[in-house]
Amino acid sequence: MTEQPPAVVSASKLGLTFQTNDGPVQALSNVDLTIGKGEFVSFIGPSGCGKTTLLRVIADLEKATAGAISVNGMTPEQAREKRAYGYVFQAAALFPWRTIERNVALPLEIIGLSQVEQAERIKRTMELVNLSGFEKKYPWQLSGGMQQRASIARALAFDADLLLMDEPFGALDEIVRDHLNEQLLDLWARTNKTICFVTHSIPEAVYLSTRIVVMSPRPGRVTDIIESTLPRERPLDIRETPEFLAIAARVRDGLRAGHSYDD
């Protein structure tokens, strides 16, 4: 396949077992996955399938208990210490006491950039997510979609090549979500970043991705990996084409094969 080294993320036989009061829970089991530079990979599956957990393992927010994983050829911890990725959470998670531009500046302050450099990066990322003009606003003054865009700007601010997104548009209505999906593709095309994107929406996964990883629960595992045959240039109405529908059907079959809906 198209696996040019070096891989951005590479996992083999990856497993994670949480120790809970009700005994061990296997959140991830035997995950084999390689993500190359510039890919847009979606993780899709029902709740409890470990898609978010997998993303958190890549981000070093959880530690794997079995198998091996590397991020940019390093352990996830080393990669995190080198600030190898930007992370976008399910909610915007902006600090309410900071203006939008100060929120975007937060990671830049932490890595210790000069004021001049901060201002330049803020300007660039705010333009990238179409939020120019809202720099001085506080988060509560923005709509949910704009807040999430601000959080994407924050994740992009320190210019990591890898963007990890955990259901970033899950809480938004469909019209806003379509709009943001379009903008995200545009941003991906312009920046050539590698994006890992967790979602539970089939159309969203098919529309955005170059590769779709279908997962199923109990234990969380990968049941299918689907290469998208869609072109990189994707207008919103590509979702009406037979090609798009065929991929969506395959994703749906994959989800069903994982026995994910039989409880």
């Binding site: 981000a59 927010l61 995190r80 210490e81 399910q90 998670a93 600090f95 006491w97 932490i110």
Partner: protein, 292 residues
Amino acid sequence: MDTFRSKIIPVTSILAGVVVLWYVFAVILNAPFQRDLDARAKETPGAVEFIGKTLAQPKPTLPAPHQVAVNFFENTFLRSVTSNRSLVYNAWVTLSSTLLGFAFGTALGIVIAVGIVHVATLDRSLMPWIIASQTIPILAVAPMIIVVLAAIGITGLIPKALISTYLSFFPVAVGMVKGLRSPEIMHLDLMHTYNASASQTFWKLRVPASVPFLFTSMKVAVAASLVGAIVGELPTGAVAGIGAKLLAGAYYSQTIDIWSALVAGSVVAALLVMVVGIAGRLVDRAMGGRPA
């Protein structure tokens, strides 16, 4: 207009109710003594005259509101502020030790909270003692503090302020522990993804998140500080201060003086809580708080 309807009318109605009840009880409580006086003087006043006399005794069991009001007015506005009978002078004496104790208490409370949040051992060892400290009656502790400190030559403002500190550090410590632990998991995860140091997480996330908690607990603490300062004046035979006025009034059965000192104390308490509240709102505004 809205605040007028939603706040002023209900508050004044309650106040009017309290004043009416107060008059009723003043008549009832002062009546037996007045009856004795009249019997001795062999007078038989009519009902209206009798009620009038119960409300005009020089040392009533319960002074009437207007007696307290007149006394309060005279001792606040008609006396030179340097006179030791002036309520302004006495309130200032109490206020100065309140403020000093409040400053100590707030600082101590914050330091304790930071320790508890960052050092697991302190979390387990310190908290029970802090809670226990507040179960000891302050009236029992206050004289000992004054006496012990006087024995080593510390008198005046500091001992009283320390009693205020003792009462005011507690709400601040408890509130700040809660405040410093208030950031959401997602915000902490975010700082983790940036590989932020513990001190960066503290200054950029925990401290700003704790500010609303700080002001809420400071409102409780400042009122407790005032109580501490007044209690500190009681056992020492302090010559000035609201506590000293209360004590002197009790010695000489000057009930009207006691009540007007009480009113002075309440006014000071209300002003202190208001000032802290306004400061809290200004800080909230500066931190991008959503206008209510």
